[in-house]
């Protein structure tokens, strides 16, 4: 780490220190730019937060830019170090958000600010803020943090991870048969993702404006919908059926894979028809809605519409709040919990385990059953015609294990800190899946502000790990642990201590 403060010379930095420094400076820079924009937009309103936003963002932005200028990159970065850098960038954004919540006085305690910032950037719709009391600047910063978080997830899933050979075969890279792939290379993927995401957001803004959500409300809702973030602006905009319809369409598209959206935009219909994951996703939405309607005793068009809204909000891990339409049967919260845990399609901004991986697990289970009967069988796992390599299958199993481990760990910690078992279980799943507000067994929404601060703090790691697609954050943790171990060198110190004593 001492190289960080070395004057720039001819030697490149080590892979890990370069990745960490780059990640931190990029993350802080992005957060600062968001803060600056929010500060400027706050001037169009009451302007009470603008000075704090502009000064704090300006200072942090300048600092990060200076740090970025110091970094001298090696010839190439290792995969693990890139993932570490991306995770550090995400944490950098969260830290900037924490700072801005504190300096504007929106939140007075650091742990509350950290929670709110993490919930924003991780697109988990858990908030302790009352949107009606927020100034325009902080409202837009909050929504913007979710938009940036969604973009991070898309870039990670569509551009970064496939470029690092993790999930390469699942990326849309092939050009054969006249196809126009979404991700022919890392750079092209990033550009296409940005274009699609921004275009989709602007469409949503227009849709919400037409539905009557107001200017600021439309921007906030559009950013939350596109990112599957779930933050709602002031007033109760989702009480309006027209706004609900736009939100439902937006959530359904946001939960679809960006590859599917790309194929729609580029009119490659054959690819859409062949997608087994899309069929499974739509089946989940339709089947889930029917079951939820039955178990919540929905009747009439309005109640069924709200049922569909609730199901979409959970299945896409958006987390827009909607109160239960009627008395919930015992299975309704279980269904919503499962649907949130599964989440939307891979390659979307949503969290959760994701539909493609679920299909992979189902195929794996089927193969295992076949192997019981025919031990020597050679059976490949196919999803919609795509043959998965054993490495990809192994990664799916790893993700399942990690997801369950994060849920169980988070559940255990928050249960120990005072939540009851049912709430702890739901909170653990929602945090890991970045799914948003937690429901009690009768369907009523629980307020995170009623939980203790230690409970809320305990959710921060789960939200960050869940947003970072699980294993990148854990790889970063491993890198950090290895770094600490190498610095401390406990084994060598113990051996040296013992030999000193024996002398």
């Amino acid at each position: 780490m001492h190289t960080l403060f070395r004057r720039p010379g001819n030697l490149a930095w080590g892979s890990v220190s370069s990745a960490v420094a780059t990640g931190a400076s990029v993350g802080i820079l992005v957060g600062s730019v968001l803060g600056l924009l929010s500060g400027l937009l706050d001037l169009t309103g009451s302007g009470e937060d603008s000075r704090a936003l502009l000064i704090a963002s300006g200072v942090s932005g300048l600092g990060s830019a200076w740090l970025l200028s110091l970094v001298r990159r090696p010839r190439r970065h290792r995969t693990a170090d890139i993932l570490t850098g991306v995770t550090v960038a995400f944490l950098g954004m969260v830290l900037v958000g924490t700072l801005l919540y504190l300096v504007t006085g929106t939140l007075t305690r650091p742990e509350d600010a950290l929670f709110e910032s993490a919930a924003g950037f991780s697109t988990t719709a858990l908030t302790i803020l009352d949107a009606d009391t927020l100034g325009r600047g902080m409202l837009l910063f909050r929504a913007g943090s979710q938009w940036v978080g969604g973009l991070t997830a898309l870039l990670l899933g569509v551009a970064i991870l496939p470029a690092l050979s993790t999930g390469r075969e699942l990326a849309d890279r092939r050009r054969d048969g006249g196809r126009r792939p979404l991700a022919p290379s890392g750079g092209a993927a990033a550009r296409n993702v940005l274009r699609l995401y921004t275009g989709f957001t602007l469409l949503l803004v227009a849709g919400y404006l037409v539905a009557g959500a107001g200017c600021v409300g439309s921007v906030v809702l559009a950013a939350s919908t596109a990112s599957t973030g779930g933050f709602v602006g002031p007033g109760r905009p989702l009480a309006d059926p027209a706004v609900q319809v736009v939100a439902m369409l937006g959530m359904a598209v946001a939960g679809a894979s960006l590859v599917i959206v790309w194929r729609v935009v580029t009119r490659q219909w054959a690819g859409i028809r062949r997608s087994a994951e899309l069929r499974a996703y739509l089946g989940l939405l339709i089947g889930g809605t029917l079951l939820l309607g039955w178990w919540s005793q929905a009747s009439g068009f309005d109640e069924w519409r709200e049922t569909l809204f609730t199901l979409l909000s959970a299945a896409t891990t958006t987390g827009f709040p909607m109160h239960p339409v009627g008395p919930w049967m015992a299975a309704a919260p279980v269904l919503l919990l499962l649907v949130a845990a599964v989440g939307p399609m891979t390659g979307s901004a949503g969290g959760g385990f994701q539909v493609f991986r679920l299909l992979g697990l189902l195929q794996l289970a089927r193969r295992e059953l076949m192997r019981q009967l025919h031990p020597s069988i050679v059976a490949r796992i196919r999803i919609g015609g795509l043959v998965l390599s054993e490495a990809s299958v192994g990664r799916i199993v790893l993700q399942q294990f990690l997801f369950v481990a994060v849920v169980v760990g988070t559940t255990g910690v928050v249960a120990t800190l005072g939540l009851d078992l049912a709430t702890a279980l739901a909170v653990g799943v929602h945090a890991a899946a970045t799914a948003g507000p937690v429901r009690a067994l009768d369907g009523t929404l629980l307020d995170p502000a009623a939980w203790s601060r230690p409970v809320r703090l305990a959710l921060v790691p789960a939200m960050v790990i869940g947003r970072m697609a699980l294993y990148p954050a854990l790889v970063a943790l491993g890198t950090a642990a290895t770094g600490v171990r190498d610095r401390l060198r406990p084994r060598r110190r113990w051996i040296a201590f013992r030999s000193e004593r024996n002398r």
Binding site: V334, L373, A415
Partner: protein, 525 residues
């Protein structure tokens, strides 16, 4: 009937018939005991006679054919179902579960549930305040305990000899390919292996009975609890289970027997043969003890933080960790809300206990759950995958003890855990759909699949499963108990052979796969 079809039906019936003979013996013995202080002896004798006739008839008029994997799966699965169904006869004929307001269907369902819970060594019960255990005659109570003891005997052979020889669920490969003293095929023939393990089982049962007698139980209770402790079943002859005695000595004695029951019977046999305690040399057993010890300390600490005295917290934690960690299922609660009632504990200790519901005991034992070794290898596999991301060119292995675990075994274990997880998810949704709240449904399903016994929520250690679950939900749980007891695959695959037979003999055009029809149409076009 064609020879192929006759082969699997004959084999299945022959194996089932053999099993029913043991069950008939247990019924007869219980009927004799019922003569002492109960009034259901005639009904039990009738049940024994019917079972004997059925078993003898099936054995007499059938024979075992050439065995292949599918036939073995069918035979094993069908036998357990048959034994569970026929095993409910004494309860039905004796009217054990008949009560005011309960229809005939509910009474039959309760009898079946109790029978399945017995033979699968789960220990969940439909007895409760509405129908106390202690109101039953000694014969019924003894029969109940014997169902678990017989179930344990069957499991010992199944998981130590039959399933490993098929490599089912990855069990066989563990011992066939991993180094160390884990070889379960101690004799060339399955029958010889079974005899040796039954010998160990009998010895441990007798030793357990004497231990319980010395701890303060009366002879009947000592013998009865020895049956359910060594089989890690959990049935008790008392309504409050071990809470009836509220004795440290009794709890320690039962804990010792449960730990032995949940350890590999191979190790017990090897210890006997070598005249020394070889258990600590086995990695899985060390992990298992470490898990129990670590969990005890963690839960005791949390209970102390909640206001319980340290020594009492240690006692409650130790007992409940062992009873759930071994899938024993006994309780030491003296009443609802007492210190031993873990359903009334804070959520933190409950979550730790919930994890134990999943883990279970060691392979080659009577315990349920995923098993320590699978969890250990699964965790090592996940850790290896994470390390591989940091070192993509490294050749990394999953290690167990001093050896390397073959990749095929790692894949099988991963597949098993995936299937187990799917059953948990679907089972929870189904049980919840039948009117159960989230916590009760989730823990009930895990408890059923892991053959643990008690659940949380409405079906805790002081409650009855009648309180927590509707009748259809209890039937779902009973099915899951059998699925979990047979390590999932035999129960799932037992229908393969009958399905193939139906396809073979069905009239042409009646049961033809849709794909064949389409192919024929496209060819003719």
């Amino acid at each position: 009937m064609k020879p192929a079809a006759r082969r699997w039906t004959s084999t299945t019936a022959h194996v089932g018939g053999n099993a029913l003979l043991f069950v008939a013996l247990a019924m007869a013995l219980s009927a004799v005991v019922e003569l002492v202080d109960g009034d259901r002896a005639p009904a039990m004798f009738v049940a024994a006679a019917v079972t004997l006739a059925l078993g003898a008839g099936m054995r007499r008029w059938t024979q075992t054919g050439v065995l292949d994997r599918t036939v073995i799966f069918t035979a094993v699965g069908a036998t357990w179902v048959l034994v569970s169904v026929v095993g409910a006869l004494p309860y039905i004929l004796a009217g054990t579960f008949a009560r005011d307001g309960a229809s005939l269907l509910v009474v039959l369902a309760d009898a079946l549930f109790e029978s399945v819970s017995g033979f699968s060594c789960t220990g969940s019960t439909v007895f409760g305040a509405h129908n106390p255990i202690e109101a039953q005659g000694s014969g019924i109570l003894l029969y109940r305990q014997l169902t678990q003891w017989l179930g344990g005997m069957g499991i010992v052979v199944l998981v130590v000899a039959v399933l490993p020889s098929l490599g089912a669920s990855g069990l066989g490969l563990i011992d066939a390919e991993a180094p160390g003293e884990g070889a379960d095929r101690l004799a060339p023939k399955v029958v010889d292996t079974a005899r040796q393990f039954w010998g160990v089982y009998m010895v441990l049962t007798v030793a357990g009975a004497f231990l319980f007698l010395g701890a303060g139980m009366n002879p009947f209770d000592a013998v009865a609890h020895a049956f359910s402790a060594i089989s890690t079943g959990g049935f008790s002859t008392r309504d409050a289970s071990l809470g009836h005695w509220d004795s440290v000595a009794v709890e320690l004695a039962v804990m010792a027997v449960m730990v032995l029951g949940a350890a590999s019977f191979t190790l017990h046999y090897l210890s006997y043969r070598k005249r020394k305690f070889v258990h600590l040399g086995h990695p899985e057993f060390r992990w298992y003890l470490g898990l129990l010890g670590g969990w005890t300390l963690a839960i005791a600490t949390l209970l102390t933080a909640d206001g319980m005295a340290w020594t009492r917290a240690l006692r409650m934690a130790a007992f409940n960790v062992v009873t759930l960690g071994t899938s024993g299922g006994f309780g030491n609660a003296t009443g609802a809300g007492s210190d031993g009632d873990f359903a009334a504990w804070a959520a933190g200790p409950q979550v730790l206990l919930l994890l134990l519901l999943v883990v279970g005991g060691c392979t080659g034992s009577t315990a349920g759950g995923i098993k320590v070794i699978r969890l250990r290898i699964g965790a090592a596999h996940a850790y290896r995958a994470l390390r591989a991301m940091r070192r993509p060119r490294a050749v990394l292995h999953v290690r167990y003890g001093k050896g390397i675990v073959p990749e095929s075994l790692v894949e099988r274990i991963a597949g098993f855990m995936v299937v187990f997880g799917m059953f948990v998810v679907l089972g929870t949704l189904l049980v919840a759909a039948l009117g159960t709240d989230l916590v009760t449904a989730f823990t009930g399903v895990i408890g059923a699949l892991g053959n643990m016994g008690p659940a949380f929520g409405e079906a805790g250690p002081t409650a009855s499963f009648v309180d927590g679950y509707s009748t259809p939900a209890r039937m779902v749980l009973a099915t899951l108990m059998l699925v979990g007891r047979l390590e999932i695959f035999p129960m799932v695959l037992m229908l393969i052979v009958p399905y193939r037979s139906i396809r073979r003999v069905a009239p042409r055009g009646l049961v033809r796969p849709l794909r064949d029809r389409r192919q024929r149409r496209s060819v003719s076009a």
